[in-house]
Symmetry: C2
Subunit: 188 residues, 2 copies
């Protein structure tokens, strides 16, 4: 692809990361999953709190139970993710000082920025390793909690579907033009 | 560094990204800054809303005014960032359906996850290009708004200090062990 050949290694990985919603039957090696979480582990976070916790679900029985809880009712539109060979739950474990007091002052939920950073490290590492992923935000938090017996200290913030892509080709990424989102010294 | 030589290209970039708070005097080429925002532009987001907007401030007068507004009072601890050759403001431009209604149902501020993702694309691209960055969450949102005459539709969510690092060497990254944050099929 001409678009990719002119860019450095990172841009190629960024372009290779697509939201994959169809997977072939191959299981995913745990070493690769560990490598993805290890990339997330190295992410920066507010006050270095590292609020991210990754639960990798590759046991078929548990995965079915998780999917049933996560994708029921109004969340049924996300049920394609049941067929991913792996579901990963990204939890936040909140720190009182950095996350609760910080937010009270500035109004920003820093832990969500931090989880976005770490979760994307996970997805980019997966892309580099040839794995497909999809960020999932539309799920029942209560359903996830009950399916997994989640302790109160953990808050489910996102899920990932993970596996080898079964898409034969993906459409082009649809994004705003650079000039619409990048301004110099004056708000556009 | 032995730690880096065994890893693929992405892990090297991730390890090279450090929170840089001291910069040498070199100005930063706009082409490089555009390349960093372009990496952010390609990020995924909830419903592909692409809520991120980047204001790059490299004009010295505006930068001084922004820093004065952003880092006053209780935010004085962040005033080291005044000396960065470039400050970037990451704004959210919220979409009513995806960001406000979505949150009302699930309680998750998706736009912050999305800004975390895009902002980290920016920082990783900068690292690959040899630039130092630092995520800044501790700043006066009102101060930023006033310094820049920010329209109501935009919400400042983070700042970045950007420049060429003047750190001669950085300490090792301090992170939790992988086993503390990565669990398989059972919450640890």
């Amino acid at each position: 692809m001409a678009e990719q050949s002119q860019e450095g290694g990172l841009k190629q990985v960024i372009l290779a990361r697509r939201s994959v919603r169809r997977f072939d039957g191959r299981p995913v090696e745990r070493e690769l999953l560990r490598s993805c979480v290890d990339a997330a582990r190295l992410a920066p976070s507010a006050e270095n709190v590292q609020p991210w916790r990754f639960l990798v679900v590759d046991d078929p029985t548990l995965k079915a139970r998780l999917a049933e809880g996560a994708f029921s009712g109004i969340y049924r539109v996300t049920s394609w993710a049941e067929r991913a060979p792996v579901l990963v739950v990204l939890f936040a474990e909140l720190d009182i000082l950095a996350n609760r007091l910080g937010k009270r002052v500035t109004g920003i939920d820093y832990y969500l920025l931090d989880l976005g950073i770490a979760g994307e490290h996970f997805c980019l590492q997966a892309a580099e390793l040839g794995l497909g992923t999809c960020w999932i935000g539309w799920f029942s938090s209560d359903g996830v909690r009950k399916a997994l017996g989640t302790p109160r200290r953990l808050r489910p913030a996102a899920l990932f579907a993970v596996g080898y892509s079964a898409h034969e080709r993906m459409p082009e990424k649809k994004r705003r033009a650079l000039e619409e989102i990048c301004w110099f010294n004056e708000i556009g």
